[in-house]
């Protein structure tokens, strides 16, 4: 039934207003069966609202969502029977054990899987009979993940699943996502951290101010801005024409002056050439450092107006 009508998830012209605040504006996007779709955006972009609409926590002002061939509103029960959902607000029942949480998910979905196996898959076998209220944030998140795996869902919807996980935990989370995907599950997951999405996703949609500003494969995204890092070159004085010189270097997508430093967003291969270019203009390089491109800069590449849409209702400049 799932693939008869094509998409795993489809948003069709979805708008959501909370009073005067527009959380989503005419959002349309499609997640294909079998893919891992990364839903990127800063906090407050509308990711959780979108996911909430898909699971019928939130009702759209306009438009509709279909999940696995079912209407997200009218057939929410069927949707949730086939979906494993991990909310960004996921919290445990403090007084119930890890196993009791999994038992509850099993009973709710009418599944007779072994709860111990599920807890083992997320590395919680040893803590299964402890009260979940005493778990660390990372353990709670793993428990949440275990409950989403119940019943081998056709679709996993994970909202900021790496929240609270250490790098090791985040890597294990990605491995579980990949394994579930290999089993045949479609994965729709949101994040505000580019590199987490980059590591596993086939396709990425970028949400900003309630609007989808880009939708592309990872390669497509990377060719525009991705892969680049910010190189900060500290200089004694900033020579005239240094920016033009740096911008002309192959692999540099942008360059700016910040106090006594030249800041270039460039591919790793271009770093040497950028430093050379700065020195060629007559400056003495006092030091340099690189940092990952923040998500905001990815957005900047897709949007001309740097100020958030919500704060500039008049638009224009």
């Amino acid at each position: 039934m799932a693939s008869a009508t094509g998409s795993a998830v489809s948003f069709d012209g979805v708008t959501k207003r909370f009073g005067d605040v527009v959380a989503l504006q005419d959002l349309s996007l499609t997640v294909e069966p079998g893919e891992i779709y990364g839903f990127l955006g800063p906090n407050g972009a509308g990711k959780s609202t979108s996911i909430g609409i898909a699971l019928d926590f939130v009702r759209p002002t306009a438009g509709s969502v279909r999940v696995l061939g079912h209407d997200a509103r009218a057939e929410s029960l069927q949707v949730r029977e086939q979906v494993g959902f991990l909310s960004d607000e996921f919290e445990v029942y403090d007084r119930l054990t890890g196993r009791q949480h999994v038992d509850f998910a099993l009973e709710s979905k009418g599944s007779d899987e072994n709860p111990a196996k599920l807890l083992e898959r997320v590395g919680l076998a040893d803590a299964a009979d402890r009260k979940a209220g005493g778990y660390s944030k990372g353990m709670k998140q793993r428990l949440g993940l275990a409950t989403t795996l119940v019943g081998d869902p056709d679709l996993l919807v994970l909202d900021e699943p790496s929240t609270g996980l250490d790098p090791n935990g985040a890597r294990e989370m990605r491995e579980i996502i990949r394994r579930e995907n290999e089993r045949g599950a479609t994965v729709f997951f949101s994040s505000h951290i580019l590199e987490q999405v980059e590591a596993v996703c086939d396709r990425v949609g970028i949400l900003r101010g309630g609007t989808l500003v880009a939708e592309d494969s990872i390669e497509g995204l990377r060719s525009a801005v991705g892969g680049d890092a910010r190189l900060r070159v500290e200089v004694d004085t900033v020579p005239d024409g240094v920016l033009d010189r740096v911008r002309s270097v192959d692999g540099v997508s942008s360059a700016n002056i910040d106090a006594n430093a030249v800041v270039a967003v460039c591919s790793p291969a271009a770093r040497r050439a950028v430093i050379d270019a700065v020195e060629e203009t007559g400056a003495t390089v006092a030091g340099f450092e690189t940092e990952e491109v923040a998500l905001e800069e990815v957005f900047a590449a897709y949007t001309e107006d740097a100020s958030p849409a919500a704060e500039a209702p008049g638009g224009g400049a």
């Binding site: 926590f57 939130v58 009702r59 996921f90 919290e91 445990v92 007084r95 509850f104 979905k109």
Partner: protein
């Protein structure tokens, strides 16, 4: 039977609460203690009977049950929205109305369990000190008290489902408790005003009894009067005027059903 899964989970969770165990202990002590006091006071006069005790107990039990039921249930849904566990609960395939029904059943079960233990303790005390023990009447009164508790749980869950703030849910529960306590007095005040600012001479009219009997506490008293022999009915304040005898029972059932239905309907509409 999705509501049953929710109810079982909720009962399991709530029955691990220390507050609940303290309340149960307190309830057992109170009812058992009252039974003991009742037996002591009357031990000289050879008038000890379970019916007499029910009359003795009803007012205090009504007060205590209303507080315990509101306390156990006021956070049932608002608390889940506040903490974020609602996203786990409703991420699973449960209809919202099943969540509301499951909460009423789960929390109701918790209060009923405490109530049952207390009433059994009291029965043991009464049987222990001798006197007449009318088991059928006692069981009826226990069931009626359970219905009264269920009505308050239903009200608390309905209030709790309407807000994402435990504090607001608590304010609603307290507000309702005050309404219940003072509804009868308020109606009496209305009567006095309608009567030209003078106190009633002789029996109060039926319309006053009908209005005053709308509060759940009054309905509990009236219903107890319906189930008890007439001489006791007067003592618990039941069976007045020209009202039908079943009036209290129907109102009490109404206080259980109406909040449940309205709460579920309202909860269905909300963005969570």
């Amino acid at each position: 039977m999705s509501w049953l899964v929710v109810a079982r989970k909720d009962f399991r969770d709530a029955s691990r609460s220390r507050l609940l165990w303290s309340l149960t202990a307190l309830f057992v002590l109170m009812v058992g203690g009252l039974a003991y006091v009742y037996a002591e006071v009357l031990s000289q006069t050879d008038q000890i009977s379970s019916l007499g005790f029910v009359v003795f107990l009803q007012g205090t039990a009504g007060l205590f049950i209303s507080i315990v039921a509101l306390l156990v249930a006021y956070k049932s849904i608002a608390g889940e929205r506040e903490s974020g566990t609602i996203s786990f609960l409703l991420g699973l395939p449960h209809r919202r109305r099943d969540v509301v029904v499951g909460k009423v059943v789960g929390r109701g079960g918790v209060v009923a369990a405490a109530l049952l233990v207390g009433f059994i303790a009291a029965a043991l005390v009464l049987v222990g000190v001798g006197g007449t023990f009318d088991a059928a009447q006692y069981v009826l009164f226990t069931l009626l008290s359970a219905l009264y508790a269920a009505a308050f749980v239903s009200i608390a869950v309905a209030l709790s489902s309407a807000t994402a703030s435990s504090a607001k849910a608590a304010a609603g529960a307290i507000g309702f408790w005050i309404f219940n306590q003072f509804w009868g007095a308020a109606m009496l005040a209305v009567y006095v005003v309608v009567n030209g600012f003078s106190l009633p001479q002789g029996p109060l009219p039926d319309w006053y009894h009908a209005l005053a009997g709308l509060g759940p506490g009054a309905a509990y008293s009236n219903a107890a009067g319906y189930f008890l022999p007439p001489e006791f009915a007067q003592q618990v304040g039941g069976g007045f005027g020209g009202l039908p005898e079943w009036y209290g029972v129907v109102i009490l059932v109404g206080w259980f059903v109406v909040p449940l239905v309205l709460g579920a309907a309202r909860f269905q509409q909300l963005d969570l």
